[in-house]
Symmetry: C2
Subunit: 296 residues, 2 copies
């Protein structure tokens, strides 16, 4: 596995690969890899000839009071893990390489960026979109693999690929979970032992919503209230949001329709650690014309 630290060298390698009619899948990460990341790399390896894992803790997607400086980093460990999962390259630039001064350009994806995470992390998706476009132009992938855990991020990236006419296929890989349902995340390292024991509550809250949906509940506010109730069982939890929305546009109608796919979204602090999670589910029944009442 090759480690590449400069943009020009990475572009040269990618050009070489494409020149030989081989395909590239990129797996953008901020490092401190866990099994969730490795599942992305393995998926990438199944779909393309070469896999480029990028490791860059992107400063522009952190807010001023967020955890940029203490975000966990361990390159040597990441190297071994990425190689074991089948990565052919690690692109590992430093901040000066990615953001030399002056730097004026940013990418804004409206709509999906402005809801849920976008409210609590106002410039987050702008930072994500900008670095992802840079990484696309640097690694020149045919395929980009992202985790479903950052659900809104995948929507932002799907929008920018479509709107800016990148010829890149987006693959979203389901979230890997610990045995108690906690979504794998580099940030789980921040949790104290006692917090870690309570962190499974996010998964349980989503399961409660799914049970209610399976029983026929489709009133959005009712569904949300089940989640809030479950999360509040842990007194150290501060909820940013715990909400159901349509999966394709994050709309929040009063009632979800039979056949509609929804996404259950949670972001909350457990102590000082911010956790996010999500789950997709289809409302039972068939979506048909009679569900649409004219004028509504």
């Amino acid at each position: 596995m090759k480690v590449i630290k400069t943009i020009s060298q990475m572009q040269l390698e990618s050009e070489g690969i494409k020149h030989n009619n081989k395909t590239i899948a990129v797996v953008p990460t901020m490092g401190y890899l866990h099994d969730g990341h490795l599942s992305l790399i393995k998926k990438a390896k199944q779909t393309a000839d070469y896999v480029i894992t990028t490791i860059f803790v992107n400063p522009t997607q952190f807010g001023p009071n967020e955890d940029f400086s203490k975000y966990p980093r361990d390159f040597d460990r990441d190297y071994l893990l990425a190689e074991s999962a089948g990565s052919d390259y690690i692109f590992f630039p430093d901040s000066k390489e990615m953001y030399p001064l002056p730097f004026f350009t940013s990418i804004i994806v409206s709509n999906v960026s402005e809801k849920f995470e976008g409210i609590f992390r106002p410039s987050h998706f702008q930072g994500v979109a900008t670095v992802v476009v840079k990484l696309f132009n640097i690694t020149k992938p045919n395929i980009a693999v992202f985790g479903q855990k950052d659900y809104q991020q995948t929507m932002v990236i799907r929008s920018l690929i479509r709107d800016l006419n990148f010829e890149i296929e987006l693959i979203v890989v389901p979230t890997l979970r610990e045995s108690d349902g906690l979504a794998m995340s580099s940030r789980n390292k921040y949790l104290s032992e006692s917090e870690r024991k309570k962190a499974g509550i996010l998964f349980k809250a989503m399961e409660d919503v799914k049970t209610a949906i399976a029983k026929g509940e489709c009133d959005r506010k009712m569904l949300n209230s089940y989640m809030h109730k479950k999360l509040r069982e842990i007194k150290e939890i501060k909820i940013d949001y715990a909400a159901c929305a349509t999966s394709n546009s994050l709309e929040e109608p009063e009632f979800f329709l039979p056949g509609e796919e929804i996404v259950i979204l949670i972001a909350c602090f457990l102590g000082k650690t911010r956790l996010i999670d999500n789950s997709l589910m289809k409302i039972p029944g068939k979506l048909n014309q009679s569900n649409f009442v004219e004028g509504i």
Copy 2:
């Protein structure tokens, strides 16, 4: 010369060219081609194997009260002119092809976008940057050729190429002028006969500044005042701005330094027609260390 109207077909053609190790130069235009455009196409043909001229009157770079709907269009004439200048392709999409709904993404280039034109046309450069990134991803050029007449636009594009890591060389071609110095522009068509006779005043105003600089003037406000004075000789002129600034960052110091390159920028209405022009000039003398006074 091939005319291509869909994004997917253009991407396929461009991929084919690059697959054969040939180079592409793109010349983005809004059509209604004149000799200025043709000089860009000719320059493009000298520098690359294939030239793609894009013709798209981009709605997102026009303000709400601007001339989008009446912007002149004549595809048949453009076809003949582009072919005569050596273009190999015309990419000629419609608005639905370029901006299918929903459309969420936009590119913002701060700093250079916020001055001069950016003040009078607040969302203009956002529209330009976004469509240019789309056109880059659609035509996949090695070289992009733009006219110096839209000076700030070339700065915006240089910034986004650099910041977003496009592997594209930007070539800026000097402005072509009519015999009285009027910069060639599709919008000159709007001028009445009597306005057309007066339109040479922009060039004369820039010449006055250059004469003053050659005589040793380097006081920015003085230089600007010469321009305003000359432009006001035509009573139908309403000046948006007529100003000197450093050519590389559009800064406006009290005095320009010897050896510094400046850009003279004008935007004004002559009747209902908005004209812009610019000219580059070096301040006489050598830039040396003693010009920089510590603390200033």
